[in-house]
Subunit: 294 residues, 2 copies
Amino acid sequence: MSLIAGIDVGGTKCLGVVLDAQREVTSEHDVLHQVRNPTPRADKLVDALEVLAGQLGDVQSLGVGVPGLITLDGVMRASPNIPGSVDVAVGPELSKRLGRQVNVDNDGNLAALAEWRYGAARGAKNMWMVTLGTGIGGGHVVNGVVQRGVNGFAGEIGHIVVNPDGPRCTCGRKGCWEVYASGRGLRMLAAGEAGESVIARARNGDADAVTVLEAWARWVAIGLSNLTNVSDPDVIVIGGGVSEAADIVMPIVQRWFVETLYSPEQRKHPDLRVAQLGEHAGAIGAALFGAMHA
Amino acid sequence: MSLIAGIDVGGTKCLGVVLDAQREVTSEHDVLHQVRNPTPRADKLVDALEVLAGQLGDVQSLGVGVPGLITLDGVMRASPNIPGSVDVAVGPELSKRLGRQVNVDNDGNLAALAEWRYGAARGAKNMWMVTLGTGIGGGHVVNGVVQRGVNGFAGEIGHIVVNPDGPRCTCGRKGCWEVYASGRGLRMLAAGEAGESVIARARNGDADAVTVLEAWARWVAIGLSNLTNVSDPDVIVIGGGVSEAADIVMPIVQRWFVETLYSPEQRKHPDLRVAQLGEHAGAIGAALFGAMHA
């Protein structure tokens, strides 16, 4: 059995997994071993990853996913959710300490890789993974290859501007897609009410809550249509907290997607699907990425 | 000498060129032979292309660029600028008539290929060509490969929505990028005055004209930043009518681009460049495309 390991660094926790490289991973149950530790400040991050790597035992390869802007050689340029993260050389430093090549990429890219290989987008030729969480993350896989761009910063789709005179984004600019279509966006459109609460009310047929959800779904769909105009994918996978309410959310998003799609009658529409690998997608993708480049 | 031919179908004329496959084409002067015929209605298009192919003489390969949505096997699904163009099998039909494989792609994709191979984006790893004409066309070349998407409809960047409650686009939706950032958009922002006239006044220091040009350049920059967020390119080439006023337009677009870029201080900025191959880009790209797949 050849063991491969992956670590997903989140805003609050680091999740490490060990997989059998020869075995398909279709759910958490196929993960051989997992470890969860709290995420420290950026200046302690490499220490924490070194410890976590040790807890994962003897493996053939290790990959790491980190949120934010990650260069092709694994340097974290900036990560809004990890305090103090400016130019932390996660990949180079961890490789040196562990005496092996450790590949590091953006967490959205790695979740996309996992969903393409083992999840909702198996067999897709050209897929986007869109994670609707607090913000919006993304990853683009074409013919099995994660599209990283020249700096490693491709897939920063939460910051596509969809209304340049809209509300201020955390990035400092105005009207980014994630201002409207993220979990935070849903809360804004609901005048401060939590997304879960709006969804629960909409489920019970509350007309105001349905109106808010429709408005939010339209913004989600506009972004998905924009990605379709750029890349013409066959599959778009929706992940993140919102995907847990997929039964009510996806039909509304789907309806708005057809409404907002360019030239809908001339094309096969991209298939919108719900993510399958849940919160493990990033760590599974990190393991796959580590194994690919080991 | 191995001769390759390309034809670019425009809204009003079809331009055919013959190139030496072994010789670089850095300007019109390197085109061995060229023919221009009027573009007919869609139902006569294949006839016209057959005649034009004959006028180009004996060549090793032929490629054709057509505006609009073109499938991977060369069927024109729809082209706003060519009346009657619904499901015209340009590639298959022309291949049959000429007894040879004729590859057909979207004109924006082929202009991008030409600018990457011989023009402003030589050596780029990841380039976007953005043509600011009446509307906005585009093409994306990654590691020398045109990104066509699963239907062949990638690069429809003029229809990225940048303001969903904005003015109506020719496509029927609202607030597409080309509503604002195309030649037509400049005219709209200038309350109906022609783009050339606005630019001429701005050149003479007219404050109102400068204000209009600034507003337009901001919209251009927002779209370029959106492409950067998706793909993280090293080069973006600006073509189309507007590129003829590059001396005044590009510095303003460049300033707004830095202003609108996500995380500008964390990254190497994409290089904005003016297209070099002018109106021949599409036909040169068609010739390259034909030769690649012959």
